[in-house]
Amino acid sequence: MTNNFASRRRVSLTWRLALLSVLGLMISMPFVWMVASSFKQRAEVEQPQIVPHHATAHNYPIVLTLEKEPVQNKKLDLQFGRWYFNSVFMAFGTTLLQVLTSALAAYAFARLKWKGRDQVFMLYLATMMIPSVVLTIPNFQGMVSLHFINTYHGLIIPVAFSAFGTFLLRQFMMSVSPALDEAATIDGANHWQIFWDIVMPLARPGLIALTVMTFLGSYQSFFWPLIMLNDGQLFPMSVGMMSLDTSYGRQTELIMAATVMNIAPLIIVFSIFQKYLVSGLQLGGVKG
């Protein structure tokens, strides 16, 4: 009986492992293809074999403009370092401001009692239902009026506020016992102190989850920077890399080399915080 059970369990485990391996392979294939293509030459870049016949590491120094592009025999007109910095800077700035503003708003919705609070919160959440594409022209017009076109703040400030972030952190803050606030108030703490010293540390899993999600989203943002910027010096990587796709042909091997370098910060951030990301979302999902 025990042997039979153990055998069935082994078979079930084997099947599950096999299924997960296949799924894992399917998910990782685009990444493997991306890395492999970054070491291929142009002539074989769109061929499906993973391992290059004539592997080359030159695509990386070409993208970094350390080497000449062999066909044109000159260095490409790319500002890779600048675009890299811009991507990190914009993602960092957006994340910092969005987490801060969301936390402040969430505190107001979760811990303060004021007339119409829940109605205002519902109204705030309702903004999530408006498709972003509908808001593109009005938002862009707003940026024009504020003279924010072609500026860093034009990219950061409009996305420094998030209904989703507010919702997520509100759920966390509602799970913190009100008794702590009351005790702090008795000890003479004001709202500012309660916010920073009591509620924020206890909402840490939610803050980390929001930080990771915002950073990943901002780092990859494409459409808003595309329409906001005309000056190549301000481009993030996502927009700058389009310079490798021109009417002279798509330089896929260089795009892949740039992409491999581009996603490095994302992988680092995700690897460090993935534990908090999953647990944070689960926690935010069940409490409140």
Binding site: R42, A43, E46, Q47, P48, Q49, V71, Q72, L76, D77, R82, F85, N86, F89, F92, G93, L96, L100, T136, I137, F140, Q141, V144, I149, Y152, W196, D197, M200, P201, R204, F223, L226, I227, N230, G232, Q233, F235, V239, M242, S243, D245, T246, S247, Y248, G249
Partner: protein
């Protein structure tokens, strides 16, 4: 927590200061600096610098606009902040004009030397919307059949000759299929690079068009158009000389030929491809192809002369640009022989100035020194016609529906007559709806027909 946020805030401010401090601002040189929304391909460096030489008081810089995507241009121009100059193609021109984005160039074109008479007669209509000029070509696109001489030699098949017919095309393709490769290579006669383009060329070759001259009815159900689409379908499914979409997918999966027809051709796996002269810009990426390519004009249909569709990537001026007067200089530059010479040399399609494309010899450059290759494109542009769109329906919608129905034929969901009849009916219905809803179109109807618009006009 407060400390962490404070550190991050300081870091953010420091990064902002570094970002601002390291920005390179254009020097105050007294010049007017124009922005040109176009794809940032390497040839732009030479093109913009030559403009600066011709007009020293004006400079133009590229506002990178990838792959002809017009979203950025539309959003920016709609709010009055777009680039001074922008790329325009015939199928997008009408929408841009209706949105008030493009400047009417007619009052200035003749005086400044960039009116339609400065480019190919076959292309002149494509620069106009309702008789007014809104663009001047940057380069001119027309297709020919480009072939790989190595594959023809390997199979022992004679190269195609000008003045050939579609029957000859099928015969040559079958010969390539039937005669084995001496080197034992597996290749195909034709790489299907762009089904829509192939059919468009065949439509013009058969004497068809999308619309009647007044634009009030679609002629996509005409015998000429149906014949063209049938020709395409037959080559895929009856003669089996053009890869079907399924064949192309299988090639990608089995043989490593990639997905695009040009990739297949450039990889030396297809004997022929239908493409423009711009293909040679990519040749330096495929050194094994150099010295081995030839070109012939598109095949004729029956007794009709060889002919295909032509088009242009033109430049238009942003009507809300503060520098629209200076932007006109750029169009003068595009019409100049200096600019056309750059296009001849870099191989980016045909130059806008027909005088520099008078013969294959005139187009010879370092990439392809064979005059016969270039002559195919000279013949093609002389016989080409642009696809005509209707002012009563958005050209982008027409193009999208056309693509959908061509795909239905490619995938054998519909026969060519069924597909084209349904497409024409759909377009005609949309024209009727547009006319019912839009008084401006009703006025246009009255101008075109000389009759008063009534709801039962059709």
């Amino acid at each position: 927590m407060k400390k962490l946020f404070s550190i991050c805030a300081v870091l953010f401010v420091a990064m902002y200061a570094v970002a601002q401090a390291t920005m390179v601002h254009p020097k105050e040189d007294g010049k007017v600096h124009l922005k040109w929304a176009t794809d940032p391909n390497p040839a732009r460096v030479v093109q913009t610098s030559a403009f600066g030489t011709m007009f020293p008081d004006t400079a133009v810089a590229v506002d990178p606009n990838a792959s002809g995507d017009s979203t950025k241009v539309i959003v920016q121009c709609a709010t009055g902040t777009g680039a001074d100059l922008m790329d325009v193609t015939a199928d997008k021109m009408q929408s841009l004009v209706e949105a008030g984005i493009l400047l009417d160039l007619t009052p200035y074109a003749k005086t400044l030397g960039f009116d339609p008479s400065h480019t190919y007669p076959s292309l002149q209509k494509a620069l106009l919307v309702e008789g007014k000029q809104y663009a001047f070509p940057c380069n001119v696109a027309v297709d020919a059949i480009v072939f790989n001489k190595k594959i023809f030699d390997d199979h022992g098949v004679a190269y195609p000759k000008p003045d050939w017919t579609y029957d000859d095309f099928v015969r040559v393709s079958k010969e390539l299929q039937d005669k084995p490769s001496k080197a034992g290579n597996k290749d195909i006669p034709f790489a299907n690079n762009d089904g829509n383009g192939f059919v468009n060329n065949a439509i013009v070759g058969c004497g068809g068009q999308y619309f009647t001259a007044d634009g009030l009815h679609s002629t996509l159900n005409s015998p000429e158009v149906i014949k063209a689409v049938q020709l395409y379908a037959d080559m895929m499914y009856k003669d089996k000389v053009i890869p079907t979409p399924m064949d192309s997918a299988n090639m990608s999966a089995q043989g490593g030929w990639g997905s695009g027809g040009l990739t297949i051709f450039s990889g030396g796996k297809a004997a022929m491809v239908e493409t423009g002269r711009w293909y040679i810009c990519q040749l330096p990426n495929f050194p094994e192809m150099q010295g081995h390519i030839g070109a012939v004009p598109l095949p004729r249909v029956g007794d009709r002369p060889s002919g295909g569709a032509c088009g242009a990537r033109g430049a238009g001026v942003n009507a809300k640009s503060l520098h629209w007067r200076e932007s006109l200089k750029f169009l003068q530059y595009l019409a100049s022989p200096q600019y056309s010479k750059i296009i001849v040399d870099d191989g980016d399609s045909l130059p806008p100035d027909p005088n520099l494309a008078s013969s294959g010899k005139a187009l010879v450059n370092d990439i392809v020194p064979d005059p016969e290759f270039h002559q195919a494109f000279v013949t093609a542009i002389n016989n080409a016609k642009p696809i005509q769109y209707s002012p009563f329906i958005d050209a982008a919608i027409t193009s999208r529906w056309y693509t959908e129905y061509v795909q239905k034929v490619e995938n054998r969901i519909l026969t060519p007559p069924q597909a084209m009849k349904m497409l024409a009916a759909q377009i005609d219905q949309q024209i009727r709806t547009n006319l019912e809803r839009r008084p401006d179109l009703q006025k246009k109807y009255e101008q075109v027909t000389g009759k008063q618009y009534t709801p039962d006009w059709s």
